[in-house]
Amino acid sequence: MRYTRIWLITVIFFTALVLAACGGAAEQAPAEEEAPAEEAAAEEEAPAEEAAEEAAAEEEAPAEEASADEGDCSSEEVFCVGLVTDVGEIDDKSFNQSAWEGVQIASEAGAQVDYIETGDAKDYTANIELFAQNGYDVIVTVGFALGEATAQAAATYPDIDFIGVDQFQGETIPNLTGLLFPEDQAGFMAGALAAQLSESGTIAAVLGTDLVPPVVAFKEGYEAGALYMNPDINLISTYHPGGLDVAFTDPEWGASTAKQAIDQGADVVFGAGGKTGNGALIEVAGNEGVFCIGVDSDQWETVPEAHSCLVSSAMKLITPGVGELIGMSNAGEFPGGNFIGDVGLAPFHDFDSEVSDEIKSSLDEINAGLMDGTIETGYNPG
């Protein structure tokens, strides 16, 4: 019968894997000069696993990590920080990457760090578990989508501190801190900047999807900020029409949509939607006299292709926020509950001279107003 074949494949595959597992453990020792023999005495965890882990860390670890102590995370002395990404990659030029850079600040302070990229949203829990079971001290989870999984893990592992980026905490769990940002304020600043830069009176926003709350906050803030500066401004903005799995990874749509906006007179484009937004930024860069504004981090660093238009970015300072929280955990001062990180506009870089002092001072005023509450963005997520 035909399908016996596929059964056999499975059996064989598994056998092969098991063989590889044994073989792997055996052959690794000679291959890796630093094979940690002393680890055999490690307390709770399976030794084979550690051997593999160590060996791999040797090969692939980013340069920053090399300095980290190769210690056992379950021991008291070694401070270990793990990061679980949202679906996507660590180098996404966006929030995963910013958070990872925050973790690396801790690595410079001597912590041992590692990350796991999530390929399937249903793996959040499993990926968090991998760090938890290996005795990590702090686990950073990135994105609102991991909120539920993180909260559960925090309850299961009260000795581990969890940092949930973009995860609002309804009730306070002492070992879980949600790192939140008033994106609407950053968007407000960006909108105010855009409205003042625009000569045509039309500004645009190319956005990821409204399924992701921070994107909505950026958008609402952007529009409110623009209208605050110029009530007659013509705002054209659009969300990606696809689902969550493509909305942030469709630079072609971002580019084409930005172009469509430019073609009808928009001279400032706010690209807020991961790689989709980056596509919009790069597209704008090819058009004379049109400005673009990035999002999340200072995209001057992450999207060099957009230098010719990138006047600023509406930043949420994830990197320092994560770094700070890790530091607090290490010091035993982990706050729990919600921790509000900083937002703001990125430096103008090459455009510093093009942005008039008038605009700069108005932005400072707005910033102050947002801080003391005299200016409200009007965004209320409910």
């Binding site: 696809g242 580019a255 084409s256 469509q260 073609d263 790689k275 980056n278 596509g279 292709e305």
Partner: protein, 338 residues
């Protein structure tokens, strides 16, 4: 001499042609009306239509060249993605956009050769062959993609002198970057080659009745190989379009299903280059329109419903007006000589 019983006329397509004509006239009226009332927006939407349609037309051309010769290509998505990646790398490391385009074309062609090897030589099921390419491309590009690679930007529009100044038509057709021009030329070229040249005649014969072609000394395998390879190259061009012209950078999985939509466009266009172009334009138009509707912002409809527009429109047009498509008879069947 009995020549009786010869049917009098071929009338099957007449009905569809009339409907198509009416549809075309309506579209034209709509465009002119839109241009009179709001020239800027109309131009912007139509220009966006063309941009959105470009990778789809290229993908569909790839598919139809292969299928006309009897080889199903559902690996268009993978060919596009891999080519986008290699074109991007070439751009990063050589900084020469022309070289990068060639690299993209070559990558597509190599994957085309791989598909031809699987389906013509190994006689593997063609759908499996395409699927292998899709998964492989997704895996390899994601696996090998590294961050920190930056390009010198992307290809910029080249206005074609005075042609670009013609109202409406100028900005849409004559102020485009190179691959878009190439696409427009390719639509005509493929049409010409397919229906007016020796190569086209042989290709169609091989796709319809390979043994008939074999008996007059045509090398079926060779025709299929070359068509699938060239088709792959064209899909590679679509990939190059994405990284070099539309975006300027590469991202994982950036094709986002365009290869599959291209497949739909190909069938929708009844396996003809102009048909595919029309179908792609329809699709591009619906996409541009949904963006424009969001821009306008007055509609109280959730944007998801606007987002469905291209897809719903395709289904309605397909079910209502196009109906059954005649597939090349020998498509999907490996040719067995003995």
């Amino acid at each position: 001499m009995t020549t009786a019983a010869v049917p009098k006329a071929r009338s099957r397509g007449d009905y569809a042609k009339i409907i198509g004509l009416i549809f075309g006239v309506l579209v034209l009226i709509g465009i002119i009306y839109g241009y009179i009332t709001n020239p800027v927006t109309t131009t912007a939407v139509l220009a966006s239509t063309l941009r959105q349609s470009t990778p789809l037309v290229l993908g569909a051309l790839c598919g139809l060249i292969g299928e006309r010769s009897g080889v199903i290509n559902i690996g268009i998505e993978g060919q596009m993605l891999m080519a986008a990646f290699i074109a991007f790398l070439a751009n990063v490391y050589t900084g020469n956009l022309f070289v990068a385009v060639l690299a993209g074309f070559a990558t597509g062609a190599v994957l085309g050769a791989f598909l031809a090897f699987m389906s013509v030589t190994l006689k593997m099921d063609q759908i499996i062959g395409g699927t292998v390419i899709n998964i492989l491309a997704l895996g390899l590009t994601s696996f090998f993609y590294q961050t920190g690679l930056t390009t010198q930007g992307k290809m910029q529009p080249i206005p074609l002198g005075p042609l670009a100044d013609i109202p409406l038509i100028g900005p849409i057709f004559f102020d485009n970057p190179p691959i878009t021009y190439t696409t427009l030329i390719l639509v005509m070229l493929v049409h010409y080659v397919l229906f007016y040249t020796r190569w086209g005649l042989r290709t169609r014969a091989v796709g319809e009745h390979p043994s008939a072609a074999d008996t007059v000394g045509i090398n079926v395998f060779k025709i299929r190989y070359i068509n699938v390879i060239i088709g792959g190259g064209i899909a590679g061009l679509a990939g190059a379009y994405l990284t070099l012209e539309a975006v300027g950078s590469f991202e994982r999985a950036m094709t986002n299903g365009r290869g599959f939509v291209a497949l739909a466009v190909m069938i929708f266009g009844k396996y003809t280059p102009f048909g595919a172009w029309g179908a792609a334009l329809l699709f591009g138009f619906a996409t541009a329109l949904q963006t424009q509707l969001q821009f306008a912002g007055q509609l109280e409809i959730p944007h998801q419903f606007i987002g469905m527009l291209p897809y719903l429109l395709t289904i309605i047009v397909l079910a209502g007006f196009v109906g059954r498509t005649r597939v090349p008879s020998a498509v999907g069947k490996p040719y067995e000589k003995e």
